[in-house]
């Protein structure tokens, strides 16, 4: 009992070491856990993109950088793999969050489109980054939905958009079949401007920690689907019939969550044992 009481006072550095060791295990000894369950939000996102007609375009807003690449990278990879498999044309933008978004997106997209035989300008286009005011992206998103050519007169390679064949089909953001926004926490202005005023169907790919805030919009139908962190990416890959980064990182994430649970359990056992010891002493 005395030993159990000490569990209440473990030095946090031992917890850090234990967490590191636990999360390294799946990298040292590759393990697989069954994907099994696919959430309704991921399934809805997959079905929306899968239902894209051949004459329509999907817009991807990739506004993540190094901080959230642990989850957003896998999400973008999974969705781009789906688009390439179905030969769906897409446009990549980066609206207002981080100027590093286009670089990170290009590194993911370029190898996949080359393998799929996509031609730049005809099958896919990257428009680049547009600065907005933090907390006030509404006017920019409104312009995006209403007048995409006006917001992006040139693409990331400085080519006028009127010279790009793919852009002839998309003069307004609202002309797209759907928009997928991958970032740490997609702004609500996408819902209040792009969806509410222009009817653009939205899929969000966000960090796991931010996902609870978007469930009301899933229920109301304002958000068509959502990829929740790495798990969402793994589920999307399972629906697409691939096994990419999301599936690979699901096991370390599981071990990490296990470490959090183990820490909570240890703390409670220690607290309970200490109280019993104190009552026995009294």
């Amino acid at each position: 009992m005395r030993f159990l009481a000490h569990l209440h006072r473990i030095d946090r550095r031992w917890l850090y070491v234990a967490t590191l060791v636990l999360m390294l295990v799946p990298f040292v000894k590759p393990l697989t856990l069954p994907a099994g369950h696919v959430s309704r939000t991921t399934r809805a996102a997959f079905e929306l993109i899968d239902s894209c007609p051949p004459d329509k375009v999907v817009i991807i807003d990739s506004s993540w950088d190094a901080g959230s690449q642990a989850e957003n990278r896998a999400q973008l990879e999974a969705v781009v793999a789906h688009l390439c498999r179905r030969k769906i044309k897409f446009i990549v933008t980066s609206l207002g969050v981080t100027p590093l978004g286009p670089d990170f997106a290009r590194d993911i997209i370029r190898p996949q489109v080359e393998r799929a035989g996509y031609e730049y300008g005809r099958d896919w286009v990257q428009l680049g980054f547009v600065q907005g005011v933090a907390g006030a992206l509404g006017p920019v998103i409104d312009r995006f939905s209403r007048d995409l050519w006006g917001l992006y007169p040139r693409d990331i390679h400085n080519t006028p958009v009127e010279q790009l064949p793919l852009m002839q089909a998309v003069r307004r953001g609202a002309d797209a079949h759907a928009l997928c926004c991958f970032t740490y926490a997609p702004v609500y202005e996408w819902i209040s401007f792009a969806n509410a005023q222009y009817g653009l169907r939205l899929v969000f790919g966000c960090m796991t920690i931010m996902c609870p805030a978007y469930y009301p919009y899933i229920d109301s139908g304002q958000l068509a689907g959502m990829l929740v962190g790495n798990v969402g990416a793994a589920e999307y890959e399972a629906l697409n019939g691939t096994a990419g980064r999301g599936t690979r990182l699901g096991v370390p994430a599981a071990f990490g969550n296990g470490a959090v649970i183990a820490a909570a359990v240890l703390g409670n056992i220690g607290l309970w044992a200490e109280r019993r010891a104190r009552r026995a002493a009294a």
């Binding site: 946090r12 850090y16 856990l33 600065q131 006017p139 920019v140 009301p216 798990v231 649970i261 607290l271």
Partner: protein, 236 residues
């Protein structure tokens, strides 16, 4: 005088967006060829959006400009932390130079650096992927360790509310990863952890989030209204 000008500009700017949204695009009598009213603000909306983008860019530049002023002052006066300031300014100049040369080929040619393209690309890759991307990912990865430490200290069964929170966290943590499916795959679907986690997100979480969002946006609306109308601000 300055505050009055700021207030007037704020009022007019907000008024533009409010009126542009509230007024109809056009009003037309039945059977008429031409509308008798068209929204006078809509033609200016694109210009207003361009101004928002320009303002955002200016705000974005404020941070680096202040950093340069602060660290350059440190360096020139050789105050405490001058070495760190020198390192910061060196990497800032290096990053700007490499990115500028990479993004603007004409600049590269003008500086006679076309022959060293590969070197510049390697240097840029080293700074971007080797340093910046790695540091960014590392700083976020540290959160995992803080989370474990916080869970150890705060997830204690000391009251009914704390217990409910802990059990909910347990279900959600396990339900969100394949571990939950692995542990409960032998149960019927309705009793598996991912199903419970999905229910927690869809029902109690959604209800609370709706309440929070209504309160947050009501407060944001009030704060925005105060800012727009200049209510409660000090006068000269």
């Amino acid at each position: 005088m300055r505050k009055t000008v700021v207030r007037v500009v704020t009022l007019l700017g907000g008024l533009f967006f409010v009126l542009e949204f509230m007024l109809p695009a056009e009003l037309r009598r039945p059977g008429a060829d031409r509308p008798y009213f068209t929204n006078p603000f809509s033609p200016w909306l694109n210009l207003a959006t361009d101004l928002v983008i320009v303002l955002g860019t200016m705000a974005f530049l404020l941070g680096p400009i202040n950093l340069i002023r602060s660290h350059f002052g440190n360096l020139v006066r050789w105050r405490r932390g001058a070495v760190e300031s020198a390192v910061f300014l060196l990497f800032l100049a290096l990053g700007l130079g490499l990115a500028g040369v990479k993004e603007f080929p004409d600049l590269k040619d003008a500086l006679g650096l076309a022959a060293a393209s590969d070197a510049f690309q390697s240097g840029y890759n080293l700074l971007f992927y080797g340093l910046m991307s790695a540091f960014g990912a590392t700083s976020m990865a540290l959160l995992a360790f803080y989370l474990v430490s916080a869970a150890y200290r705060s997830f204690r069964f000391q009251s009914l509310e704390a217990g409910v929170m802990m059990i909910t966290a347990l279900v959600v943590l396990l339900g969100l990863v394949p571990l939950g499916t692995f542990l409960t795959s032998w149960l019927p679907t309705e009793l598996q952890l991912p199903t419970w986690a999905a229910w927690i997100f869809a029902v109690p979480n959604s209800a609370v989030q709706r309440a929070v969002v209504i309160g947050t946006f009501a407060g944001a609306f009030a704060a925005g209204l105060r800012l727009w109308l200049g209510v409660g601000q000090k006068t000269e």
